[in-house]
Symmetry: C2
Subunit: 234 residues, 2 copies
Amino acid sequence: MVSDADPITTERVPLSKTRVLEAAMGLADRTGIETLTMRNLAQELGVEAMSLYYHVANKEALLDGLVDSLLAEIEHERGDFEVVQDQAGWLPTMRNLILTARTVMLRHPWAPRVIESRTTMTPTLLRYFNALLGIMIEGGFSNDLGHHAMHALGSRALGFNQELFEPDNTDQGDEEAEAMMADLGPQLPYLMGMLAEVVHDDPDTTLGWCDDQTEFEFGLDLLLTGLEARRASR
Amino acid sequence: MVSDADPITTERVPLSKTRVLEAAMGLADRTGIETLTMRNLAQELGVEAMSLYYHVANKEALLDGLVDSLLAEIEHERGDFEVVQDQAGWLPTMRNLILTARTVMLRHPWAPRVIESRTTMTPTLLRYFNALLGIMIEGGFSNDLGHHAMHALGSRALGFNQELFEPDNTDQGDEEAEAMMADLGPQLPYLMGMLAEVVHDDPDTTLGWCDDQTEFEFGLDLLLTGLEARRASR
DNA sequence: ACCTGAACACCGTTCAAGT
DNA sequence: ACCTGAACACCGTTCAAGT
């Protein structure tokens, strides 16, 4: 029991929007986004679910706040979102910023799905996009090419690439998938051939799950070099 | 009231997995994926919610079925998933297949989000990927490059590019977004500059919403030409 | 100003029961 | 074989009420 007269006890610090967001982030990191419910979050904070609504409009706003916190973490990781060019040119500058974003994303597995579920712009995100665009513009891009580039990068601009099919962590799912592959094998000569050659040296990799750093950088560099070619040829 | 003795009445056709899937597809197309609940779907079919579980294991399986139906529609649109090369080479063949997938995706606005929520492979999807890969292999790709290419394309291989921020259709949202832009404007010189130049001729386009055919094809072609360069230089 | 209790209108799903 | 009723364990959220 906490004494009412003892303000030192940390249990007594009142709720606030930032405390709610920090707790939400921790809960999502620790036990997954699907367990982030208003009721669970309240319990985590030692409070009733309805108390949360005093600090956050609703669950949508909570998720928006989460995205904003994540972007703030990226900004902190880089120092700031100032547009300062690497002397090697726009490409490595942009590459570094995006890979920094990626390291932060990797700490928060729920991030891609949450980001893609949002439709609302947040201030921090606008500043992030402004930084990306600024790097390109200062590097000699037209506004038009910069605009196309942002679309072409898509979620990669934020450091992740939505994988179409992630691994089932259940052995159950793996076995089912393998059974299906065995059944369909004869109809899938190219896929079977590729798997035999490409995947055999990494035993826990199955089709649809190879999104390691290498694949991310391959796709990113494909886009960046393509953009550089178009910038230079105008 | 339907007479029990009248088997002609269409109301009497019993449920089946395909009828359930067709109804689910129609419901999602018409009123959005968020209204596709087991209870709503049952009502649509004139049946109790629990009856659905006789034909489909659970909601996850229903969504898997929806993705499979969508892929089947792509296959039907193209004729089949055979690997027959365009005489102009792998690139236009692949481009055409992906753009065909896109025309189907555009008929089903819920598709990107549902696909990205799935973790299970379906047979039709495997055959689709096999076709894409086959086009590349027959076009002179190594298995390794083909593998990288699949990852690099990501959701674009299926004809969509997850937009990071879609338009708020509510005027409310638009106004809020504009107010925020006005506030932050001074901090966002590059973004403001680009918007002024690029967006002004399309009045209902605001930042984060320009994913028309042009942007999709720009990104796709950036990747395809990049891949062609790597194929040719090995 | 901040938090809560009770209640509402939803979800997906189980299970025993009906025909 | 196919469908249903009642119930369970959840959701997010409102609203009047407490301190």
